[in-house]
Subunit: 338 residues, 2 copies
């Protein structure tokens, strides 16, 4: 069997089967970050992400500085989704020998910018030659209060699903990069492209969520909302009803939808790279959690609720019609992937 | 300026200039691993290494299982050189979509083998598509007793330089892979190729070295002995005299040298990937440290001594002649690199 047939989720399921649950492992593979006990008072979070040229980014539409920023931001988002605070990173960079040193310095300037904005120290790495293109891998550590780590697997039937910020802008921005000359209003174009190049990891929001006993599950929306909901529901053993009319679709995404005739819902459900936080919360405490997030400058939207096990995953429209929610988000090995 | 002109060391010097020394950082970039304070009783070690297809390995002469093993072994060697014990790893794997799942499973089996042999848990990772070839990045954590971490920078004039094991086999093995049909005796070929495919990280030896107050510096011999000595001498601010006649050159390397007319010393000084430990030790305690290593099944060889600052780096031959020791080891960006 080829990887393109199995897909990333299938591959990970096969590979993680055999992984030993060794000493000091509070949570191994399968969540946004591993959770470790290294002997200190806090739990240690450990995550890694790789960006590959012409798979995750193109130099045609991202600057070296933005690329550096984004390559750390995607890992910061994983730590945010676990409710931790990021602390230390190492960066592994594979680049063609012909690349200009000034470009690499810009990339590191972007990394420094993302690191400095979140109190992260870049403590090392590896820099190697690649014959064709750029591959950046960031490994990031974080700390979280023991017993206050956010996992994907704690949602119960009746819990409300909420999401921070608004959705769809990064995928719509990528669409604009790949389809120039659409006559999109400059302010719409600017907002959408910026969302794609400079995602904002919700570290402060994750911290607020982790502080509440009523928040039962969380994940960052990195591969589209449908995929994130599917992960949380699978890990929690619940179904879900997503209410289409409640979704916080970015206004500029709606504008681009009107301009192009594309369905904005697709960018929200399947687009990915929003890096907002999806979370489940007990209904009685949902307002209080929302209040704390809003007081910290975040926006929050209730988008649906968890159903009984076996009830399936559904998206319901305002007129009462519903269809199965199919996670069609980014798959690393789909041949026609992003 | 292009990277190929600046080289890896020059690049790292430029990039690490600006790195912030943040909270919890005991030692940042520039040693085999970063050393962190994450609040626990022990120091946390953090390192990463990347292997790129057609730069660091070729599928023509390494199996997927050996590749998995080696990709963790090179990071294990970094933790060994700091005197730590490796604990947890994440693996980031970029592969072409057309690759067979069975090959990836073999690669993970090799990773598991290296991990299991050293008590390391593989706790997560990222698996992504690459348009052309394979890139594997391992990020590895370790723990070490505070105050007992081995650094490159502590050697003083008069300290003895020693090395574990024997040298040159991995580079000679690579030479054999790249030059088939030399008529090399099978047992020589087997030993040299195995050394290249399955390096043995000296974790137990590193632990023994770290336990002694008399061991003043250490580094793994990953880029050739000349480069490792140059790193330790630069970090320690000392010169060195390396005694050519004392070097523990692997017997099979000598045999290949006789067969091909190549100078075995080149494989030792510039070849790289031996993953033995180079260390500096106060003369009065050298015998005691050696005794402990030998009791643990390691071999140790005294190869030279540290000189006064400014005395330079020299290799001295049995007849008393000497020449400057030029670190011509692997550079990630040399256009004619390995």
């Amino acid at each position: 069997m080829r990887l393109a047939e199995l897909g990333e989720a299938g591959l990970l399921a096969r590979l993680t089967r055999a992984l030993p649950g060794g000493s000091g492992v509070i949570c191994g593979p399968g969540d946004d970050a591993a959770v470790l006990d290294l002997g200190g008072p806090e739990a240690v979070l450990f995550t890694t992400d790789t960006l590959v040229e012409e798979v995750h980014f193109s130099r045609a539409y991202i600057s070296f500085r933005d690329l550096g920023y984004k390559s750390l931001a995607v890992s910061l988002s994983d730590i945010a989704a676990m409710g931790g605070r990021p602390t230390h990173a190492v960066v592994s960079l594979a680049v063609p020998a012909g690349i200009a040193v000034a470009d690499i310095e810009e990339l590191y300037a972007g990394l420094d910018e993302a690191a400095g904005g979140h109190g992260v120290s870049l403590v090392g790495g590896d820099t190697v030659r690649h014959p064709y293109g750029i591959v950046i891998t960031v490994a990031l550590l974080g700390l979280a209060e023991r017993g206050r780590v956010l996992y994907r697997g704690g949602a119960a039937p009746g819990d409300l699903f909420c999401v921070t910020g608004d959705l769809g802008a990064s995928a719509a921005g990528l669409f604009l990069f790949q389809n120039p000359g659409l006559g999109c209003p400059p302010e719409v174009e600017r907002r959408l492209k910026a969302a794609h190049r400079r995602p904002k990891p919700r570290v402060a929001a994750g911290h607020i969520l982790a502080a509440s006993d009523a928040v039962t599950a969380a994940e960052d929306v990195s591969d589209g909302l449908a995929a994130s909901l599917a992960h949380v529901c699978a890990a929690s053993g619940v179904g879900c009803r997503l209410r289409a009319e409640l979704l916080p679709i970015c206004a500029e995404v709606l504008a681009l939808g009107r301009l192009t005739g594309k369905d904005p819902l697709e960018w929200v459900l399947s687009g990915g790279e929003d890096y907002e936080l999806l979370y489940a919360v007990r209904p009685a405490a949902a307002g209080e959690v929302e209040g704390r997030l809003v007081a910290a400058g975040e926006t929050v939207t209730w988008i649906g609720e968890a159903l009984e096990p076996g009830a399936g995953l559904w998206i319901e429209h305002a007129d009462g019609t519903r269809r199965p929610l199919v996670p069609a988000g980014y798959d690393a090995f789909r041949v026609n992937g992003v």
